[in-house]
């Protein structure tokens, strides 16, 4: 089931939540709507579900206009951040709910419902919880039940609103890998909302980056990460260092460091700014000819990674660097030492910077 969103607008009073969004989502795709809070991603998801009405614009499922359809007729599965399991019902009753509220002539028999619910509980690997109440399950288990409940009605599209947002880090990582595998198994067109770039990069087939109600970039995780369309996307997808630079004929100069930037081959010398990710910086103990002289200000070792904060010699600018712990040990640098750094790669945008 493909989804097409055409010129959708939504305001809450003076606040523009969704600003003229156009987007089409292909059948069977797992798409992430990624953005900071207040970027309109949840509102857009709720408009697709029919939980919110757009002020203008159209929503189509498989080229059928469903803008005016009530949420209960759209056939969407919706998973909420805080699960929204019905507390007074057992797990079995929760999953069966969508089938038992069907009009009599479409409602499966009791035996069919039981069979289907058990199959779904097996799919989410929680068949042993059928008789329990939601209060007796952990957060991760509740969210899997919520997913089974949403799938029970065989939704045309599955919509997930920050599905892992309320879970702790380890369960979250487990569950998103599990969701990825589940999606490979059932191939239902899915859209999920997240503010966690790592989650989006890991789970999604396609990432739609949103900011202030509009779409900033739309592409595969690799495209979005490696070729960010603009500074916002670059900054949002992971940590970055910002350097002021001069750009001239395919050469970018940061301090006394020269980097090739073939995308800006034409034009006179002008101001630009270069983004360098923390792991794209090389560190040297001895002076290198085109390196920046820095002072090692803070070292933290987080598991296998050494995170350094260094101050540049001239501008006292703070730069974040990440490198494998082993490599850092070999450098034999201590806090307070002088070192030289060299960006390996940078993404250069013209203009004055943000």
């Amino acid at each position: 089931m493909s989804i097409s969103i055409e010129q959708v607008n939504k305001r809450f009073g003076d606040f523009v939540a969704v600003d003229n969004v156009n987007l089409s989502i292909n059948t069977g795709e797992l798409t992430a709507l990624l953005g900071p809070s207040g970027s309109g991603k949840t509102t857009l998801l709720r408009i697709i579900a029919g939980l919110e009405q757009a002020d203008s614009g159209r929503i189509q499922f498989n080229n059928e206009d469903i803008t005016g359809q009530h949420v209960s007729e759209r056939g969407v599965g919706f998973v909420f951040q805080h699960y929204a399991l019905f507390k007074h019902m057992t797990v079995f009753e929760n999953v069966a709910y969508g089938l038992t509220v069907k009009p009599k002539k479409f409602r499966p028999s009791k035996a069919e419902i039981a069979k289907k619910v058990n199959k779904l509980l097996q799919l989410v690997q929680l068949d042993w919880t059928a008789g329990r109440y939601p209060a007796q399950l952990s957060g991760g288990q509740r969210q899997r039940i919520a997913l089974a409940r949403a799938l029970a009605v065989e939704p045309k599209v599955l919509l997930l609103d920050e599905p892992f947002g309320a879970l702790d880090a380890k369960v979250r990582a487990e569950l998103r890998r599990w969701l990825r595998r589940l999606h490979d198994e059932i191939h239902v067109t899915s859209v999920f909302v997240t503010h966690d770039q790592e989650e989006a990069l890991e789970v999604a087939d396609r990432i739609v980056v949103m900011n202030k109600g509009a779409i900033e970039q739309d592409g595969t995780p690799e495209q979005v990460y490696d070729h960010p369309a603009n500074p916002f996307v670059y900054e949002f997808l992971g940590n970055v260092n910002l350097f002021h630079a001069r750009v001239k004929q395919g050469q970018t100069t940061i301090g006394n460091v020269q980097l090739a930037s073939p995308e800006h081959i034409n034009g006179d010398e002008q101001d630009g700014f270069a983004y360098v990710r923390p792991h794209e910086i090389e560190v040297f103990k001895a002076p290198v000819s085109d390196g920046l002289k820095v002072k090692l200000d803070l070292v933290t070792i987080v598991g296998p990674v050494a995170r350094l904060e260094v101050l540049t010699d001239t501008e006292q600018q703070l730069i974040h660097i990440e490198l494998p712990k082993e490599q850092f040990k070999q450098l034999a640098l201590a806090q307070g030492d002088i070192a030289w750094i060299q960006p390996r790669y940078s993404k250069v945008f013209l203009g004055e910077g943000i």
Partner: protein, 281 residues
């Protein structure tokens, strides 16, 4: 000594002894002592005398009037109170805060004032009463008036019990139900009602208990015709006027017993539901 130490010292909150002691003292003073007095006074009677007093036909007639009126009033409050709580929590409209405040008026208003006012507006010459009289419906000085007074004085119990539960019961449950294809009615009966049922039952039972004992508002509108519109609490008052303290206590003990049984039922309801929905967090 171990238990003593664990209770008296090394607590984060100090003052366990004095706070528990003073609470128990006041509970004894205002609740236990009067109840004991009631029992002692009733104990002056033999079982036969006791039975004769509480099964006196005129008294039995008051049980019927009180019970039937309280039942109808609390049944009405179940629906009306739920409706009010629903409106106050689910919609935003001008004057909502005022309406919310007005809900407590029956508690704040002296019940005698409420009774007098209701009797006036519903009497056959009153604002509403004159139109109801056209349909041959009399409210003031009839059983219907008793029901009305009970409704008025006890509706806040239902509203104030249900309102916080509805407020806490986020819209995502209703949304979840709708996305699963349920109609608004299915959502109400299968999702919302089970969730608020304990609070609704508690509120209704409290409203019923209050109605059983309502005196001030009822006597002004009831007309107090023996056999027809006398309530049980009025009977107690009548016995006291006759200096028949033992008789008054005997009838009061019946009301007390009924209220106690109801309170236990209310507690039972609450515990049962807590067990299911909040047992393990």
């Amino acid at each position: 000594m171990n238990w003593y130490r664990s209770f008296s010292s090394k607590r984060v909150l100090p003052g366990f002894g004095i706070s528990l002691g003073s609470s128990l003292f006041f509970i004894s003073l205002v609740i236990l002592l009067p109840i004991t007095g009631l029992i002692v006074q009733t104990a002056e009677l033999s079982w036969a005398q006791y039975w004769a007093i509480i099964s006196d036909p005129r008294v039995v007639a008051t049980y019927k009037v009180t019970l039937s009126a309280a039942l109808v009033a609390s049944a009405f409050n179940l629906f009306f109170g739920l409706l009010m709580a629903w409106i106050l929590t689910r919609y935003r409209f001008p004057g909502r805060i005022l309406l919310d405040g007005l809900m407590d008026l029956p508690f704040a208003l002296p019940t005698a004032v409420a009774g007098l006012t209701l009797a006036a507006v519903f009497s056959t010459q009153g604002w509403f009463g004159q139109y109801l009289a056209l349909w041959d419906i009399k409210v003031s000085y009839t059983w219907l008036g008793i029901v009305l007074a009970m409704i008025f004085t006890s509706v806040p119990f239902v509203v104030r019990s249900v309102q916080p539960v509805l407020e806490e019961f986020g819209p995502e449950y209703e949304e979840a139900s709708a996305t699963l294809g349920a109609s608004p009615w299915q959502t109400f009966f299968r999702i919302i009602l089970p969730e608020i049922k304990p609070a609704l039952l508690t509120g209704t039972a409290l409203s019923f208990t209050r109605s059983l004992g309502e005196f001030g508002a009822v006597i002004f509108i009831a007309g107090n015709l023996p056999w027809q519109t006398e309530v049980t609490s009025l009977m107690i008052f009548v016995r006291l006027q006759e200096f028949d303290y033992a008789g008054a206590s005997a009838i009061a003990s019946v009301v007390l017993l009924a209220s106690l049984i109801l309170l236990f039922i209310i507690n039972g309801i609450q515990q049962r539901y807590q067990h299911i929905t909040g047992g393990v967090k």
